[in-house]
Symmetry: C2
Subunit: 334 residues, 2 copies
Amino acid sequence: MTDAMQVVLAKRPAGDVTADCFRQETVKLPAPRDGEILVRTRFLSLDPYMRPRMTEMRSYTPPFELEKPLTGGSVGEVVESNNPRFARGDAVIGMLNWATHTLHDGRGLRKIDPSIAPLSAHLGVLGMPSFTAWYGMKQICKPKAGETVFVSAATGAVGQVAGQLAKLAGARVVGCAGDDDKCAWAMREAGYDACFNHKTEREPGAALDRLCPQGIDADFENVGGRIFHAVFERLNNFGRVAFCGAISEYQDQKPMAGPPKMFTIVQRRLTIQGFIISDHISSMGDFISEVGGLLKAGKLKSRETVVEGLARAPEAFMGLLRGANFGKLVVKVG
Amino acid sequence: MTDAMQVVLAKRPAGDVTADCFRQETVKLPAPRDGEILVRTRFLSLDPYMRPRMTEMRSYTPPFELEKPLTGGSVGEVVESNNPRFARGDAVIGMLNWATHTLHDGRGLRKIDPSIAPLSAHLGVLGMPSFTAWYGMKQICKPKAGETVFVSAATGAVGQVAGQLAKLAGARVVGCAGDDDKCAWAMREAGYDACFNHKTEREPGAALDRLCPQGIDADFENVGGRIFHAVFERLNNFGRVAFCGAISEYQDQKPMAGPPKMFTIVQRRLTIQGFIISDHISSMGDFISEVGGLLKAGKLKSRETVVEGLARAPEAFMGLLRGANFGKLVVKVG
């Protein structure tokens, strides 16, 4: 028996996620049965997509269950194995519970080489967020040299990579972020041509007019809401939107209306495409080879926020939804 | 000198187009100069896209000019030629004035073979509307057998062809139209599996729930507004929208908001693509070969409304915006 600390969904949020949506508890896990492994979580990734999963809305992933531990992309270490694919000591990545330990049947877990990069990087710049940025930028935004690309969460785990990939393609890259330090980092480290603070700029449209005088050719959309509406209005003919998330809308109780004048989509021949990276796992090899190469060559910067201790995961997640993190947010567990 | 009757844009509409937006006048046209031809209009096509051109809004075609004749896709006959490409008696298609006669430099006009089909068909089932339907259905909606396709103006010049092409691809095809006769024709002649009257159905959502129990995989969108919102809500995972027009929004003075919950685009991995057929002229040959073949084989029905006399063009156009026409609307000139 192993004592595991875990965080369960105590109630579904109505509007903003609050601390009482979570409950911390200790459970006793039995030894792995045939085919099972016991994994100790080292790092838990916190990501905006978890917010829709806390509700019962129809979505691409089933809702989290009440009174069960939440789950998330994690890196862990196999501590006991009754599964021939895994040995004690293996570093693995995949969906684990928000818990110190998870009893797992191994499906969807894969081994990683911890010598390639720090463990947490496998959840960020070498992991799902970066893969998401790469796919959306390469397959949907397809920036050409000289075009203007907008990234609506410039320094987020996904956005920071999306912006750098657009820059490497020769585009002018403009973003926004929730504080001045993030904007400064975006321009200094990630090579954004411009980045505005959407909390202090009263009108995102005015900022876009100033910073994107040639309009916007491609938008990597993670935020939604009023920033997206302002971008939509300024998309050029044949503009592309890689729609990846809408964090600004996740906590709305009353669904926000879409941008006015949908006929703009026709007039400017826009393509707006939503995507979810788990549909594109077959491209993972191409991603690793391209982005791994850029990392090795020092051509890709990344920034992460590490929170210490699983007990702080709920608080960190609530902060993420307010934009309090800087770059990829991970929890160092145990 | 030739006396030409023409219809000019007397004022730009604010809201609904009214009769005083047009003025009929007679002008004397000089003989064609070097390179010019004089064309007598036989049929003038009236199409919804003309409505946005009456305003000054930024659009894909420049606005009509005040005090100048409106223009439109037309079939005409060359009555005098000073251009080696054209001979007296040639039947031509292209943009002509809303006029009995147009003095033209020949650019953008092409000769047609009047023995292939009735002249007016070159503006409809063998022309731009049908080409639009074909492109949007083939390149964007891409229906697979067993999928559900919705066509928002089921019997319009474009929609009637779009629906039949989806049916030929093996899809279940559902549409809506503005009166019961149109719905009956759509089902009886064009092979729609179902068609509802959006004027008598109080809630398009309820009609869609009833007629598209498996949701909607592809939407050929010509209407916009509340019908589009209801469709959007019911799109299945990986749904496609070929956004071709938004007639319900053209007369709005205050732009209508887009559908709520844009995050749906991500959740269901939707692709919403606007297109304008004039960008795809290079595909015209493929269209003619495929759709011409279907016509010859009797596999494509079409319906048109012919209005007699150019003087009635304004009234007919106002009716088009209200949905008063049935199928392709053309004016028989002179």
